[in-house]
């Protein structure tokens, strides 16, 4: 009688140990991957403050134009414009663009000058999944403005 009770118990414990062991490994693995290979809104914001030297950020002036839905993340047309007279005393120095859900937050940085005449740049970017694209403009007087836009991506464009 005692033997028949003991046998199923020990089998249960062994399978339980095995299952938890695999489970712990899987969790550890996925945690490691997401930390090294994926940007988050936090890392994107950190990257932006690194790029802009940690200056105080004001909302507005920056307009990020992207399609609401991008069917193909491999090439998404983007236009960034900043409300600025672009005169020799008041112009946009730099525009930094980051993506919150790509493998790396960096996308592109534009360096402008009074000779640019108009603070508007168009390009094409890659987006891995549905996410926010954030742009920060550094003005000639050192102030920083931010604008963002969400894009729904149907097919990601970051390989893998």
């Amino acid at each position: 009688m005692a033997k028949t009770i003991k046998k199923p118990l020990s089998v249960d414990r062994r399978s339980l140990l095995k299952a938890t062991g695999v489970g712990v490994l899987a969790v550890a693995g996925s945690g490691l991957l997401s930390r090294t290979a994926q940007a988050t809104p936090e890392t994107a914001a950190k990257k932006l403050s690194e790029l802009t030297g940690g200056a105080a950020v004001k909302q507005g002036k920056v307009n990020v134009k992207l399609p609401e839905i991008a069917e193909n993340g491999r090439t998404v047309p983007m236009t960034v414009s900043v409300d600025s007279p672009m005169s020799s005393g008041n112009y946009v120095k730099t525009i930094h663009v980051v993506a919150e859900g790509n493998p790396n937050p960096d996308v592109v940085s534009f360096n402008l000058s009074p000779g640019t005449g108009k603070a508007e740049v168009a390009t094409r970017i890659r987006l891995g999944k549905t996410q926010n694209v954030v742009a920060r403009a550094v003005m000639s007087d050192g102030s920083v403005y931010e604008g963002k836009r969400q894009v729904k991506v149907t097919i990601g464009g970051c390989g893998g």
């Binding site: 493998p103 790396n104 009074p114």
Partner: protein, 107 residues
């Protein structure tokens, strides 16, 4: 690396006019996150720097990251100040540079 770039600049402009420049260069912009058929990572190879100089003075430049789509395209603006040349340069991860140049007459 890349083939001949395409650049669109107006040949004539009036002084003080703000005109648009469009550039396109053929380049794979390999991200470094893709894997080949054997499962090995394909090394990163992108154009990381683009610059536009108007009579030797830089008016626009861009620092590119792998999130810029293949065949990098830029459309931006420049103010016509004087007649001269507008030079474009694209530099990739291997340090190779491709250049293009356009003449503009400002009246």
């Amino acid at each position: 690396m890349a083939k001949k770039p395409r650049v669109k600049v107006p040949s004539k402009a009036s002084k003080g006019q703000v005109f648009q420049i469009k550039t396109l260069i053929t380049h794979k912009m390999e991200t470094g996150t893709r894997k080949n058929k054997k499962g090995k990572l394909i090394p990163r190879m992108i154009i990381n720097k683009f610059s536009c100089k108007y009579n030797g003075k830089e008016v626009f430049s861009a620092n590119l990251h792998p999130a810029v789509a293949a065949n990098p395209y830029f459309a931006f603006y420049t103010k016509a100040s004087e007649s001269g040349t507008i030079d474009f340069a694209w530099t990739d991860d291997a340090g190779k540079t491709v250049t293009a140049s356009k003449k503009i007459t400002v009246s």
